[in-house]
């Protein structure tokens, strides 16, 4: 699907599709830019997003702290920026990882068929049918040393980042897998696939070169739509103390202490949640707009 086709007008509907894509994309770009500005701004102000200043707790906005400070005196604006970096990083990486895992499983299940297909799809059904958050809480609480991971990883500062990306991809692959499986099932009976097979192409070549490119559109749409969901999951796990762990900031863990200080400093509860809401809405609108622009059948809706 070329970019030209993507923006090509179908009358007013095409224009609508364009506008629907434009503003969420701009919002996400602005968020990413703001998040990227965090470290240079911190350096310019001579501060740090995790710098604790117990003499200036819950301070109101000032020139030094544009949005004030939190319950242990950290700069709220810098933490919001770092939180944005973490949320977008987790959302993007985990969505990509889940999409790759789901595509691989879906391709194999759909192209191979038979018992393997039945087994993989029952597995997907199982994962979908489970109480997600209770299980994620257990998975997030696991002792990584008991899993036999090297101490260098377990003790690193970023372990909570790796853990949440791994966890979310582990439960997030099912949508893409079912989609890819369904499409590969019908594609594998088409002439061009049969021709490739007759010419002696190996199964992995048929899957990657002949089937996969035809599935780019639905995979891109599903992955975009999953980014928002993943950011929501990350934020709730971080909020519960099981996702991103302080001192690293995330919009979720910034809200952890907000319930206690809600009467004193309601703004601390407001900002991070608004950022999550804006980001996730933009992701969902972008995914929906992409679907409308790329998939004529869904576009009629």
């Amino acid at each position: 699907m070329s970019a030209a086709r993507l923006v090509a007008g179908r009358g007013w509907r095409g224009a609508l599709g364009r506008k629907r894509l434009l503003w969420p994309a701009l919002v996400l770009l602005a968020l990413a830019a703001a998040a990227a500005l965090g470290p240079p701004l911190a350096a310019a102000l001579g501060q740090d997003a995790s710098l604790v200043d117990l003499h200036h707790r819950l301070a109101p906005p000032s020139l030094g702290h544009l949005l004030g400070t939190d319950e242990i005196g950290r700069d709220v604006l810098l933490r919001l920026m770092e939180g944005g970096r973490v949320s977008l990083l987790v959302g993007g990486t985990a969505a990509l990882a889940a999409a790759i895992l789901g595509t691989a499983i879906g391709l194999i299940a759909g192209y191979r068929g038979g018992t393997l297909d039945a087994l993989l799809m029952r597995l997907a059904d199982g994962v979908i049918a489970l109480p997600l958050l209770p299980l994620l809480v257990v998975l997030a609480a696991l002792d990584l040393r008991k899993l036999g991971l090297p101490a260098a990883i377990v003790q690193s500062d970023a372990v909570s980042l790796y853990r949440i990306i791994a966890l979310v991809s582990l439960v997030g692959w099912t949508t893409v897998a079912r989609l890819v499986r369904g499409a590969s099932l019908s594609l594998r009976a088409r002439e061009f696939v049969r021709a490739a097979e007759a010419l002696g192409a190996r199964p992995w070549r048929v899957m990657l070169v002949h089937i996969l490119p035809n599935l780019a559109t639905p995979i891109i749409v599903a992955t975009t739509l999953s980014v928002g969901e993943i950011i929501l999951l990350e934020s709730v796990l971080s909020f519960l103390g099981l996702g991103i762990e302080p001192p690293m900031a995330s919009w979720g863990n910034m809200l952890t202490g907000a319930q206690e200080t809600i009467a004193l400093a309601p703004q601390l509860a407001l900002y991070p949640g608004l950022m999550i809401l804006i980001t996730v809405i933009a992701c969902n609108f972008l995914g929906d707009g992409l679907q409308a622009a790329l998939d004529p059948r869904a576009g009629r809706r």
Partner: protein, 317 residues
């Protein structure tokens, strides 16, 4: 029909058995172990005692053997002792399950009562101002983090206005129905607002698709009233995909309950699972997770049956 239900029951039992083993193994991978906790609470215990205790509780045996012993006891109704509550795990669970059922039932009914009519109404004129508003609300609903929604509701209704209690299940010394209801208001509102958007969008999408069918035009041509067309000819067909989504959302209701109950200190299953996982209460966490899984599986089963009942074209193979 009976054969279909029986086969699905066997499948569900199989999934539950597999899940129970996975959860059992996962719980064993959580930080700390029961013997360490005992040693920490009693300084007189020696290393030799620890070895003896491990043997006594069977913790020196391989994982699968331990699982079988646990499963045997569990099937007889013995889920062990809760460390945090010093009671049998099932005794702790039972009242919590009732509380969660009230919370989930109320918000589920409210969600459907709001989402389905709005979705149907919006589908009548896709692209109208009303439709755009419903659509925007739907997007906001699926995009809002439920724990933040809870925080905002607490901020407005409990902190700023002082109208409703910020948490708990009842005022101590007051067990009246009105008191229970005021404590339910914010948790139910949170769960409802967080799930209404998704259902509304599905209902709208399914209804728009159905209203484009030929038989709808036929019904209109034959002079059927607008309400009759919507409810009698369109709704039944549009409901089929919605039923699946609604039933599958039962699993996410548990996720919502975990967050909401924790936020509002509401003593239900979700908060219990969270507390027991964080508090190293292995027996209770295991029993709670299994109960949550069982409930979800049963809801999915009910969905399949309802799906088959709503669509006569489906055969029970």
């Amino acid at each position: 029909m009976t054969r279909f239900i029986l086969r699905r029951l066997v499948q569900a039992a199989l999934v539950l058995a597999i899940m129970s083993f996975i959860i059992y193994a996962l719980i064993g991978l959580m930080p700390g172990d029961p013997i360490d906790l005992m040693i920490a609470s009693d300084p007189h215990l020696s290393a030799a005692d620890a070895v003896r205790l491990k043997a006594l509780y069977g913790l020196d045996r391989p994982l699968f053997e331990r699982y079988l012993a646990w499963a045997q006891a569990a099937l007889a109704g013995d889920f062990g002792y809760s460390r945090l509550y010093a009671k049998a795990a099932l005794t702790v669970l039972a009242p919590r399950l009732g509380n969660t059922a009230i919370l989930m039932g109320a918000s589920f009914a409210l969600t459907l009562a709001i989402a389905l009519p709005l979705g149907i109404a919006a589908a009548r004129r896709p692209g109208s101002a009303f439709d755009a508003m419903v659509n925007l609300l739907g997007f906001a609903g699926i995009s809002v983090p439920s724990f933040w929604l809870a925080l905002m509701l607490i901020l407005v209704f409990a902190v700023a206005l002082g109208l409703l209690p910020a948490g708990g299940i009842a005022t101590i010394g007051d067990g009246g129905i009105l008191d229970r209801l005021t404590h339910l208001a914010l948790p139910v509102a949170t769960l409802t607002l967080a799930s209404v958007g998704g259902h509304m969008r599905y209902m709208r999408g399914a209804m728009i698709e159905t209203l484009q069918q030929d038989y709808i035009r036929t019904a209109r041509a034959k002079g059927a009233g607008e309400l009759g067309v919507l409810l009698h000819h369109a709704l039944r067909n549009a409901l089929i995909p919605v039923i699946t989504v609604v039933a599958l959302s039962f699993g996410s209701l548990f996720s919502g309950a975990l967050v909401t109950e924790t936020m509002f200190a509401y003593p239900g299953m979700g908060k219990l699972i969270y507390d027991s996982v964080l508090g190293n209460d292995f027996n209770l966490a295991l029993a709670g997770l299994l109960l949550a899984t069982l409930t979800t599986l049963l809801a999915n089963l009910a969905a399949d049956i309802a799906y088959a009942a709503a669509d006569p074209r489906i055969t029970y193979g």
